[in-house]
């Protein structure tokens, strides 16, 4: 048992740090660190900076343009990006549709889509969930009927993250309604500019426009946009779920946010001293920090296993990772006290340089708390994750 990074790992970390220091634009970094809202261009700019370096898709095989990093190196990269405060590289292209295309797409699909994903030429979004299918994804109802060289798609997707910016959507659609629900599903790529597609915003409880409903009204999709075989889409979707998901723990970001929480709690005062030194508040922060250290160690245990295959441990990481993120936002808001009430959307959206109350750090935090309630719901709710642990690990 040796729980230190090797010298090679440390050298790699230095390289990454140097890259980030030289290349992460200060305005983006400030937006991320200060919890302001990111725009389309912010994401694209950072993605392309990474792409120029060959680092936009750390998990991709070298043949498709990946950097050929080990699991530990990928972990270090994620950690360092989070530590610096980079915008995220959105997963929909790089980590979600791309692995499916690599594994099940044909040569033409690989040649066309993968380089475009790598360079963020297309903005992808995900068309899985539907209004009636939350945790029960396979019950989806959007249909694709084959008519000549096209599928005619009808139905509705929902919770489509940042779909308002998207060029492409990958969808699970029902191509056979006569068989068991998992067996009639296909995996389809759809150009968002196709006639018949309507995107309608869903406003979140912090009034951010982050997700959408996407309606399909007789949308014509060329058959060459089918991935793999018709009616095998559920297999492809499940393949993705078995993919590397240790990043879901979001340890790096939580470490940065912990330091931010401490900053807030150092500035706020209670009984004449920094709130962080209040025994009760301090104990809560300390307990959370310890949980985070434990989670980081658990992540490292998972990724350094010699025979590492992503497995149901990801459910543990998802549950605790999301809870830690939520508790961080909760303690930030608690630290603020009444200063958490003002809601300054103009500042958050960049229409005003400073918050109306003069407290830029405080302004986004209530919204951040409310918004982050989603983390225990999306990506398979924490209840679903417990079902997975129950079945796959405990054998109950």
């Amino acid at each position: 048992m040796d729980l230190d990074y090797t010298a090679t790992d440390l050298a790699f970390r230095d390289t990454v740090r140097a890259f980030l220091e030289a290349n992460l634009p200060t305005d983006l970094q400030q937006k991320v660190r200060m919890h302001r809202r990111l725009e389309r261009d912010d994401y694209v700019r950072w993605h392309r900076i990474c792409a120029r370096q060959g680092w936009a898709a750390p998990a991709w095989p070298v043949e498709f343009g990946g950097p050929g990093w080990s699991a530990t190196e990928r972990h270090i990269w994620e950690e360092e990006c989070a530590r610096a405060g980079t915008p995220p590289i959105l997963p929909f292209g790089v980590n979600m549709v791309a692995p499916v295309i690599m594994a099940f797409g044909n040569a033409a699909q690989k040649a066309y889509y993968l380089p475009r994903i790598l360079n963020c030429d297309d903005w992808w979004c995900q068309g899985y969930s539907e209004p009636g299918s939350g945790s029960d994804l396979a019950s989806l109802k959007t249909t694709a009927e084959r008519v000549g060289e096209h599928y005619i798609v009808n139905g509705q997707k929902t919770w489509t993250t940042l779909g308002q910016h998207a060029d492409m959507i990958f969808c699970l659609v029902r191509t056979d309604g006569t068989v068991r629900k998992q067996e009639g599903i296909s995996f389809l790529l759809i150009d968002m500019k196709t006639p018949g597609i309507t995107v309608r915003p869903i406003i979140m409880l912090d009034e951010e426009h982050e997700v959408n409903e996407v309606f399909f009204d007789n949308v014509k999709v060329p058959v060459e946009n089918l991935i793999g075989q018709e009616n095998k889409g559920w297999t492809y979707a499940k393949y993705l779920l078995g993919h590397e998901r240790t990043g879901i723990a979001a340890v790096g970001r939580s470490k940065r946010e912990l330091l931010f929480l401490k900053k807030i709690a150092t500035e706020q005062r209670k009984a004449g001293r920094p709130l962080l030194q209040d025994p009760v508040f301090g104990a809560k922060v300390a307990s959370l920090e310890i949980e985070l250290i434990a989670l980081e160690t658990t992540v490292l245990r998972v990724i350094t296993k010699a025979d590492h295959r992503p497995g149901p441990e990801a459910s543990l990481l998802k549950i605790r990772g999301s809870e830690i993120q939520q508790q961080l936002t909760e303690l930030m808001l608690e630290a603020l006290g009444p200063a958490g009430l003002p809601f300054d959307t103009d500042y958050l959206e960049g229409k005003r340089e400073h918050a109306l109350t003069g407290d830029d750090a405080a302004a986004p935090l209530a919204g951040y708390y409310f918004n982050f309630r989603k983390t225990s719901i999306y990506g398979g709710s924490n209840e679903i994750q417990k079902n997975i642990i129950t079945q796959m690990i405990l054998g109950l």
């Binding site: 969930s129 019950s139 869903i202 209530a366 709710s381």
Partner: protein, 376 residues
């Protein structure tokens, strides 16, 4: 011992509930909170007509001499309906005026609905400590001169007069409380939305001159008044929170019964059922504690009042966090959108915890009471 409402209390409650259902439903409320003023004059007029502004005012000033329990009934309904009008701020301010005495003229205006009040107590640095006051009051021949800034003054910009706490520059240990007209020269307000759909303001006082008659209390009397009125304010918030939790609980239960997943209502899953049972227990315990706090307002025992009020704010804060977070979780994706009342109830409940002392603040106050140290 009797926990039932009197008949006329039940009548207020019913009248308010009917009004909310008809005129203050989710869509109507959305329009109000996104309007320029953030409040509704016609809603206020209705509250006046229903006697709600007269309720806390003594009969001598044209009111109904309603006690804390009466106001508790009203606040519970306003909480259930997520009403964002400046009612809490006004009733709370009324309590300052009543406790101070000699404020008949203002009280009459409150009773008639002409005057709204707000309490400008907190400051940038004070967090939950209402005694952490930097605003200064300097006595001169004409009265007092006030300087300072008050932050997150609930409905501060909608009020016609403000209760202002200040530190007596001549006796730095001494607190003064003033009632200051919103139109006073040198008083500036910056109005903004709060994330729960209410309004608050930053209030700046720059050489604001008030006559000696504006002084409500000073020294230890002011400190006592401030504490007693704050306790009253907490009791109102607790009642509002219980109403909001009631509504959120009911909405979640309804969702569990109707939302289907895996071919069955999600309310048939035992893990969710037990979560809902936990929410029920939180709700009933919070309700008990809020009732006790209201009942301890009108009696004379300050020690009992302090204990009950802080206990209530703690228990309601705990319940509101659990019920709020779990209600959102059980609603799934819909719970995190702006579209359902559930999310708005959750936001309001969260902000109530940050107002007038959070769980830790009141836990500490409870533990600092002499009774806490008594032992076998």
């Amino acid at each position: 011992m009797d926990f039932q409402l009197r008949e006329e209390q039940q009548q207020f409650a019913d009248a308010l509930r009917r009004w909310v259902a008809k005129d203050y439903h989710h869509e109507a409320r959305r329009q109000i909170i996104h309007s320029a003023s953030g409040v509704s004059d016609s809603a206020w007029q209705t509250l006046v007509e229903l006697g709600m502004t007269a309720l806390p005012v003594p009969e001598a000033q044209g009111g109904f001499s309603g006690g804390a329990v009466d106001l508790w009934v009203v606040m519970q309904e306003l909480g259930r309906g997520l009403v964002v009008e400046p009612y809490f701020a006004t009733v709370w301010g009324t309590q300052f005026l009543q406790l101070a005495g000699n404020q008949a003229a203002l009280l009459e205006q409150v009773a008639s609905g002409e005057l709204k009040l707000a309490c400008a107590l907190g400051e940038q640095q004070s967090r939950h400590d209402l005694y952490d006051i930097r605003t200064s009051a300097v006595r001169d021949d004409a009265g007092y001169c006030l300087n300072g800034a008050k932050s997150v003054v609930i409905h501060g910009a909608q009020a016609g007069a403000l209760i202002v706490s200040a530190r007596d520059a001549g006796a730095p240990d001494g607190i003064c409380l003033f009632v200051v007209p919103a139109t006073a020269a040198g008083l500036q307000r910056r109005d903004y939305r709060t994330i729960d759909g209410q309004r608050a303001a930053t209030v700046e006082l720059c050489d604001v001159r008030v006559p000696a008659s504006a002084l409500l209390a000073q020294g230890s009397a002011a400190a006592d008044l401030l504490e007693q009125a704050a306790d009253y304010g907490v009791t109102l918030l607790c009642a509002e929170a219980v109403g909001a939790m009631d509504a959120l609980f009911a909405a979640t239960l309804d969702y569990l019964k109707t939302r289907k997943q895996f071919g069955t209502a999600i309310g048939s899953f035992q893990a969710l059922q037990h979560r809902m049972a936990d929410m029920y227990i939180h709700l009933e315990q919070a309700r008990s504690m809020a009732m006790l706090a209201a009942a301890r307002q009108d009696g004379g025992d300050a020690a009992e009042r302090r204990r009950a009020v802080s206990a209530a704010k703690v228990r309601i804060g705990q319940a509101a966090k659990f019920i709020g977070q779990q209600a959102v979780q059980l609603h799934g994706g819909m719970g995190v959108t702006d579209e359902l009342p559930a999310a708005h109830l959750f936001k309001r409940l969260t902000m109530i915890d940050l107002t007038l002392g959070d769980v830790d603040h009141h836990l500490q106050r409870f533990a600092a009471q002499p009774a806490f140290a008594e032992h076998a």
